[in-house]
């Protein structure tokens, strides 16, 4: 969005009372205010309004499913007037400040307290920013060599570029001065104990793990890949990726949509989105499915895989038709069929970070292996540990992680203060 478009678009905002867009935003950004600030030429004030609510404000402007969040709630839609392009306006303000290298924030007055953040994804970065604003020292331990987790590794490339993701983190780090230690996988008790000794609190923003195994015959064949790994490869070594002609994507969530869209964009001529339930039960957003269809993906519903076929390399997939009875998927006898393909992408969910979380004694997980936290301060059952992001919510949007990381920082602050009293 250029300044002229931002000027006209911002002028359309009605400045609703108790605005629905704010209500549905997980980070409750004062959207009418930041839009009004764009309109009055106060771009730095606008960016401040955004970042103060959401430290990943620029990334969220690009990767948020705005159709089902802020823009989906815009009251204009009730009279079929085009809704305000909130995401793009948000990016206009934040990107302008990032490009200018503006200084919007200063760390808070130094406080006693050093917090370790395990995982440099959106939750961890938001937590670090907020802790710095509160005056604490914050050190992020990141296993990989780039910050911001799935925002850089796992979001479909068309939504946001690596450069954009990294520029925002750099912008925040320049001003707030949190430390990120890369290549720091916490793999044993020794590492963990060292952290516990050095730091006053620990924030777990570890996200989810690798794609879960389907336990299918033939799953180990060449060209059978996990969707998260596929997208990560696309983002990190795009030039080395070759996608064959026929691709089957298993799954019905947004990651499946991303994998299907990207396969088609990478040159696959037949992309099949195979989902075990019906179209209407699909978890992916409608606009994501429409996008996948628009680049050539075809939906195949009520089917589930039985076996991956081929010798060394995948040549097809044997499937069976399903129906849903009382919410459960049942297979239909004698409805097996084979689908030829050169690649299978499993977008059937990520495993939890089970082995890592098991190392932390006293950390309670729920039945789905999500970390249990208190809803008001994101404290875990092990008092020194706080948590947020996918490891807590089971896998949601960047914006949810950004909010939880921020709230956890405030929880840590209150806990440390209460310990001092």
């Amino acid at each position: 969005m250029n300044p002229t478009e931002a000027y006209y678009e911002s002028s359309r905002c009605l400045f609703c009372y108790d605005a629905p867009c704010v209500q549905v935003c997980p980070t409750h950004i004062d959207i009418p205010l930041f839009i009004k600030q764009i309109q009055t030429g106060n771009i730095s004030g606008s960016a401040k309004t955004i970042f103060e609510s959401n430290w990943l404000g620029n990334a969220c402007g690009k990767v948020c499913p705005t159709d089902v969040l802020c823009e989906g709630a815009c009251v204009y839609d009730n009279q079929h007037v085009p809704v305000i392009q909130i995401g793009r306006l948000q990016n206009f303000a934040t990107q302008t400040m990032i490009d200018e290298g503006s200084n919007l924030f200063k760390p808070g007055e130094g406080r006693n307290g050093k917090i370790a953040i395990i995982g440099g994804g959106p939750a961890g970065i938001a937590c670090a920013c907020e802790l710095r604003m509160l005056g604490y020292q914050a050190v992020i331990f990141e296993a990989k060599d780039l910050p911001s987790g799935l925002t850089v590794h796992g979001v479909a490339p068309y939504k946001i570029t690596n450069e954009e993701v990294l520029a925002e983190v750099d912008f925040l780090q320049q001003q707030l001065g949190f430390e990120i230690r890369y290549g720091q996988e916490i793999s044993d008790q020794e590492d963990l104990q060292a952290i516990e000794q050095e730091f006053d609190a620990v924030f777990l923003g570890v996200g989810l793990g690798a794609t879960r195994q389907l336990v299918l015959p033939g799953e180990d064949k060449k060209n059978v890949v996990g969707a998260v790994e596929f997208i990560e490869d696309l983002r990190m070594q795009h030039h080395r990726i070759e996608v064959p002609d026929r691709v089957v994507v298993l799954g019905g969530g947004n990651t499946a949509m991303d994998a299907a869209s990207e396969s088609a964009r990478m040159g696959a001529t037949e992309v099949t989105l195979a989902y075990r339930r019906s179209r209407s039960e699909m978890g992916g957003y409608d606009f994501e499915y429409e996008l996948a269809k628009s680049v050539g993906a075809i939906g195949l519903f009520n089917v589930t895989p039985l076996e991956i076929l081929g010798n060394e390399r995948v040549t097809g997939i044997r499937m069976i038709r399903t129906s849903t009875a009382n919410g459960k998927v049942v297979t239909i006898p004698d409805s097996e069929f084979e689908l030829s393909c050169d690649m299978v992408i499993k977008a059937t969910g990520q495993a939890k970070q089970g082995s890592f979380l098991a190392m932390i004694e006293g950390l309670e997980l729920d039945q789905k292996k999500r970390i249990v936290v208190s809803s008001n301060n994101y404290q875990t059952t092990k008092p020194k540990y706080f948590a947020g992001g996918d490891a807590v919510n089971g896998g949601a949007e960047v914006v949810n992680a950004a909010y939880e990381g921020k709230m956890a920082a405030q929880g840590i602050h209150r806990w440390l203060e209460s310990k001092r009293e």
Binding site: Y8, R12, L14, C16, N78
Partner: protein, 444 residues
């Protein structure tokens, strides 16, 4: 088809849309282009004493996404030699004998007035307009608004002009006075054939927040300019009405000026007593082609209403513009929200609660954001309907009170003017005013 032609104080034109004196009438080229585009007349950019201009010259108010909602200028009268202008007036009249060419004039001494009147009459001008309005530059030299603001001086100069002129004379009035009737009466006493108003309003368009200079900026300084454009229309309409209703002024035809951009604006001026219309800012914004919309709309309006000529509806709104004391105190309207049309922005709620009479409440439902009118608290102020962004969503409905109309004036005559606060529409009686502490429930 209705006839748009007019005879304004003896000046004939094929339609009532004239270019006002200003930058669009600076040359014969522009005026001929305008006549070709459909304009009925043009008041030539003011001819007079030699001047020099500054750079820059114009400023504007941009309201949200609307450019030039208001406009101002610090340009002076024509900076082209008088002989060139006279020659071009002659040329234009040759090509467009039926169109009105009016020469706007501004000079100082009686001799100068007499000379320049002879000059423009010889060039073929159909009328003369006296520029007593310019609020910048010329007034510092004792002309323009310096004349318009002094009724005695204005009357004297109109007198000189009337003795010298053979063509009809229009006196153009400045709004930069406390009461428009004073210069209106002076023009009438001086014998002017007609008046035109309003000229521009003395104004500062804004301040540059880096240099602290007012717009338009001339080498880091600025000066008051003349305000015009759509934003000034309400002021112009009121002043036109003042003169059109005045028994000693209303015999003079009025040429309406001030923010006219659409056929609606034109009809409003006519309904308040104008019988020709002058336009400048709209042309400076959109070019001469803007007259297409005005003419088409005016014709459509006349056809729908069954008017054959402009004079059929000049001043028809005047009887309805009265003093406050003649308004019916027993008339009541209340707001109604169309549930189907409401989009739930709740601007009406907050406008009423914060800015008016606490007569709209939220129902606190997660299903619906449609607010509710508290009818017993609604004073019928219109604010909710004005802020509502949806067409015809909030309407004001008449509630028959079952009591005879009464006005303040009638109460006064009957000796029944209230001595206590007992207005049914006010806080404290039939109307609930929240206690001050209730404001604190909104604290987060």
């Amino acid at each position: 088809m209705p006839d748009l032609s007019i005879d304004f104080a003896g000046i004939k034109a094929p339609n009532p849309f004239w270019l006002a004196s200003g930058p669009p009438t600076n040359s014969g080229y522009q005026v001929m282009k305008a006549f070709d585009a459909g304009w009925g007349g043009a008041v030539w950019k003011t001819l007079g004493v030699p001047i020099v201009n500054v750079s820059s010259r114009y400023g504007s108010i941009n309201y949200r996404d609307t450019r030039m909602a208001g406009f101002n200028n610090i340009e002076l009268i024509t900076d082209r030699p008088l002989s060139d202008n006279l020659h071009e007036i002659e040329e234009v009249k040759k090509h467009f004998p039926d169109h009105a060419v009016i020469a706007s004039l501004m000079v100082e001494s009686r001799d100068e007035w007499e000379q320049i009147i002879r000059d423009v009459e010889n060039a073929g001008a159909d009328g003369i307009e006296l520029n007593f309005g310019c609020p910048h530059g010329m007034c510092e030299r004792g002309m323009g608004s310096a004349v318009g603001q002094e009724p005695v001086v204005l009357e004297t100069i109109v007198g000189w002009v009337m003795e010298a002129a053979k063509v009809p004379v229009i006196t153009k009035l400045t709004p930069n006075i406390s009461h428009i009737v004073d210069p209106g009466l002076a023009a009438a006493r001086g014998g002017s054939d007609a008046v035109s108003l309003i000229n521009t309003i003395k104004s500062i368009m804004g301040i540059d927040l880096d240099t602290y200079a007012p717009y338009p900026i001339v080498d880091n300084k600025g000066t008051n300019g003349g305000y015009c454009g759509p934003a000034v229309k309400p002021i112009a309409l009121e002043m036109v009405k003042e003169l059109a209703q005045h028994p000693e002024i209303r015999h003079m035809p009025i040429s309406g000026i001030g923010g006219i951009e659409t056929w609606r604006d034109a009809v409003e001026f006519i309904l308040l007593g104008a019988s020709s219309l002058q336009v400048c800012t709209a042309v400076m914004h959109y070019g001469f082609g803007i007259v297409r919309e005005m003419k088409a709309g005016l014709l459509e309006f006349m056809e729908q209403k069954g008017y054959e000529k402009i004079s059929d509806f000049v001043g028809l709104a005047l009887p309805n513009v009265t003093e406050w004391k003649h308004l019916n105190l027993n008339y009541k309207v209340v707001a109604k929200i169309d549930q189907e049309k409401c989009i739930g922005c709740q601007l009406c709620y907050v406008a009423c609660d914060d800015g008016a009479h606490q007569a709209i409440r939220l129902i606190g439902s997660t299903e619906s954001r449609v607010p509710e009118i508290i009818e017993e608290n609604c004073v019928g102020c219109n604010l909710c309907a004005l802020v509502c962004p949806v067409e015809e969503c909030i309407t004001m409905e008449h509630r028959d009170q079952g009591i005879a109309p009464v006005t303040w004036d009638e109460l006064a005559v009957r000796g029944e003017i209230p001595t206590t606060f007992d207005d049914d529409l006010a806080g404290g009686k039939g109307h609930h005013v929240p206690r001050p502490e209730e404001a604190l429930k909104f604290r987060k």
